[in-house]
């Protein structure tokens, strides 16, 4: 029996190309200011139009300053990119959620928020974290700029069909263990290239119980495990999240659509190319110690000795430890931090801010630590402010910023300096990722980042949770 991936793929297949690749129709195309300007130039060079402008939506996120947003931006290059997307969307008839639009935010936050991301769609965007949208039971993947031009001009892509691996996690997550810890654990187990050639179907009790925001965190980081695409089957959680959002079908049509969405889910007889299974009870709050997202440990564990890694990885592990100035055999617990960053397409949603605020409330950021909170979208910013979360953060010494990608990738003024160590709720701990060529990133859940900000060092958030009365 087909799984969801195969069903959606077949439904969007236009035909087979001479190369043997599938010509795949893209139901929803999202663009942003960084990877689209050259694509529009490619269209102009060939005198092409956008074939389905109503299927492409644009937002601005990567280069947006999160403090002073006055135009023109202080960074002339950023201003040039901003002007380019405004001009391109205007000229080609594409809806743009610009800075002055209350729907603006990180591309992978606003698609779901607006109800654009729906089960059974194919979704493409010139950004590897497009896998986020798979949380809705969509087939969503990142593409390069030439492919952005392909989608603009033809609404299709030339694709090789991946295999499908079911990744099951069963059992109960302990208090203080979040979706971020689950995906970091999976990547640690399967490796950063374990998913190459696969789409991941995340299934089992843990994902069944997760909210849509938690599922988005998991699917977001599929690509960090090498899988271009990751998804969760649509269920009542998915449908209730979408109900009433601006771009879903109105009225009774929504129920019709919802029935269709339910029918897409992989059934009990669905077959897979591979299946793996993990136990939730094995997952602790997890922190990366290295320079790729698989190099992580549970907070109570020591960094494993180099000799415990496969021979082929040992050089890389040694390089990572040297870059990070960390020692094998020691715990990451207690590692001093300079910066704390809460935000990004991985963990910049309202539930992330609520969890972080619970830790921040009544505490204060440690002396010498710079801590910033960056909502994923203007809508999340307004929601957080209506709940008073910004006041909780500010009282605790966190800076409260405007929506954008911020310090996840440092294409904007938010950057690490020198050898700073950053506790970060983002998705990549690559060398130089956060803007300083020698900067050091420790990936963890937003609650763990808040805890580290307050302690001034990596700590175990479970020790800061309010005791639950029984």
């Amino acid at each position: 029996m087909p799984n969801l991936f195969n069903t959606v793929w077949d439904r969007h297949t236009v035909g087979t190309l001479a190369s043997g690749q599938t010509q795949l129709f893209i139901g929803l195309h999202l663009i942003h200011e960084v990877t689209s300007p050259q694509a529009f130039e490619m269209l102009r060079a060939r005198d092409l139009e956008v074939m389905y402008p109503q299927r492409t939506f644009a937002t601005v996120d990567h280069i947006i300053p999160t403090d002073n947003q006055a135009r023109p931006f202080a960074d002339g290059l950023a201003e040039q990119m901003m002007s380019a997307i405004e001009k391109n969307c205007d000229e080609f008839g594409i809806t743009l959620f610009g800075l002055d639009d209350e729907r603006q935010g990180i591309v992978h936050t606003v698609g779901p928020e607006q109800g654009l991301t729906q089960p059974g769609l194919t979704v493409a965007c010139g950004d590897s974290h497009t896998s986020t949208h798979g949380a809705f039971g969509a087939i969503a993947f990142g593409i390069g700029t030439s492919q952005v031009a392909h989608v603009l001009a033809t609404q299709t892509l030339a694709m090789n069909k991946p295999q499908v691996r079911r990744v099951e996690v069963n059992g109960d997550l302990a208090a203080g263990v979040f979706a971020k810890d689950v995906i970091l654990y999976i990547i640690r187990q399967l490796g950063v290239k374990g998913g190459i050639g696969f789409a991941y179907e995340f299934a089992g009790e843990v994902f069944d119980r997760m909210s849509m925001e938690e599922r988005m965190t998991v699917c977001n980081m599929s690509i960090e495990g090498g899988a271009r695409c990751g998804y969760v089957n649509p269920d009542e959680t998915t449908i209730e999240y979408l109900r009433g959002r601006p771009f879903v079908p109105p009225g009774d049509d929504f129920e019709t659509a919802a029935a269709g969405w339910r029918s897409l889910a992989s059934g009990p007889d669905a077959t897979y190319d591979d299946e793996v299974c993990f136990l939730a009870g094995a997952i602790e709050p997890t922190v990366t110690w290295g320079i790729n997202p698989a190099q992580s440990v549970g907070i109570s564990e020591p960094i494993p000795p180099v000799s415990e890694f496969p021979a082929e990885e040992q050089t890389g592990v040694q390089e990572a430890l040297e870059y990070m100035s960390l020692e094998a055999g020691k715990r990451i617990w207690g590692q001093k931090i300079d910066v704390a960053f809460i935000g990004s397409c991985t963990n910049g949603r309202i539930s992330d801010l609520r969890e972080a605020a619970k830790i921040a409330e009544g505490n204060h950021v440690a002396s010498g630590v710079k801590a910033i909170v960056v909502p994923g979208s203007q809508q999340i910013l307004r929601q957080a402010e209506s709940e008073g979360l910004h006041e909780v953060f500010q009282a605790a010494g966190f800076e409260w910023r405007a929506a954008g990608c911020s310090m996840c990738l440092a294409m904007n003024p938010d950057k690490l300096q020198g050898r700073e160590v950053c506790a970060s709720s983002s998705n990549r701990n690559f060398k130089g990722r956060q803007g300083s060529p020698t900067g050091r990133t420790l990936l963890m859940s937003p609650a763990m980042v808040a805890a580290a900000a307050i302690a001034g060092a990596v700590t175990d958030v479970r020790e800061m949770l309010s005791p639950v009365s029984v």
Binding site: V14, A18, Q80, A84, S128, E312
Partner: protein, 196 residues
């Protein structure tokens, strides 16, 4: 488009694993609206931190065949990464394995990525280091990399190889050819329509 069957040139060894696209082109050099001039920023931060970086080695400045390790090009989907390598002068990449989006981006711009056994890559990298002017031939039709009297069997996804060898790597033209089938597919799928 040009048929890409054989690439002949000197090599540049960078036999490291899990090189992500942030390393290939740091994000601050993505602040641009054209790919022009992006070649000079290839491996910019790594080069500034390592004086002996291969991309700065005087004897590799004319090199066109890059030799890499495992999972090359992982991370961000930025096409700026292969574009910067292409503009620097790289015309083919030989590695143990490639990240998927990077591989697709390379194919779309006519930059072949072929895979070989690690032991063969070690030997090739050592040969290049010992003899930088060594001529290397990447033969996509024969699935071989040849240098001196050595023949290394290589692999490449058939769809990508066929596209490059036949000159059909301009996927945009092929996709456009099927406009009728595209419209038929669109017609049977739901629209995206706002209720507001």
């Amino acid at each position: 488009m040009t048929q890409i069957t054989q690439i002949t040139g000197t090599g540049i060894p960078l036999l490291l694993d899990d090189i992500d696209t942030d390393r290939i082109i740091p994000a601050r050099y993505l602040r641009c609206v054209s790919f022009d001039g992006i070649g000079e920023h290839a491996f910019r931060d790594d080069r500034e931190q390592h004086e002996a970086h291969p991309f700065d080695h005087p004897q590799h400045q004319e090199a066109s065949i890059l030799v890499v390790g495992r999972n090359f090009g992982c991370g961000s989907s930025r096409e700026h990464a292969p574009q910067s390598l292409l503009r620097w002068g790289v015309r083919a990449i030989v590695g143990e394995s490639f990240a998927e989006i990077f591989f697709g981006n390379c194919t779309a711009i006519g930059l072949p990525c072929v895979t070989a056994e690690r032991s063969a890559l070690d030997a090739l990298a050592n040969m290049i280091a010992a003899d930088p002017p060594l001529e290397i031939n990447v033969d996509l039709q024969a699935d071989e990399v040849r240098y001196a009297d050595t023949v290394v069997p290589v692999e490449m996804a058939a769809s990508a190889r066929d596209a490059l060898v036949s000159g059909q790597w301009d996927f945009l033209s092929q996709l456009l050819d099927n406009a009728d089938a595209i419209h038929e597919t669109a017609a049977r799928l739901p629209n995206l329509s706002s209720t507001v």
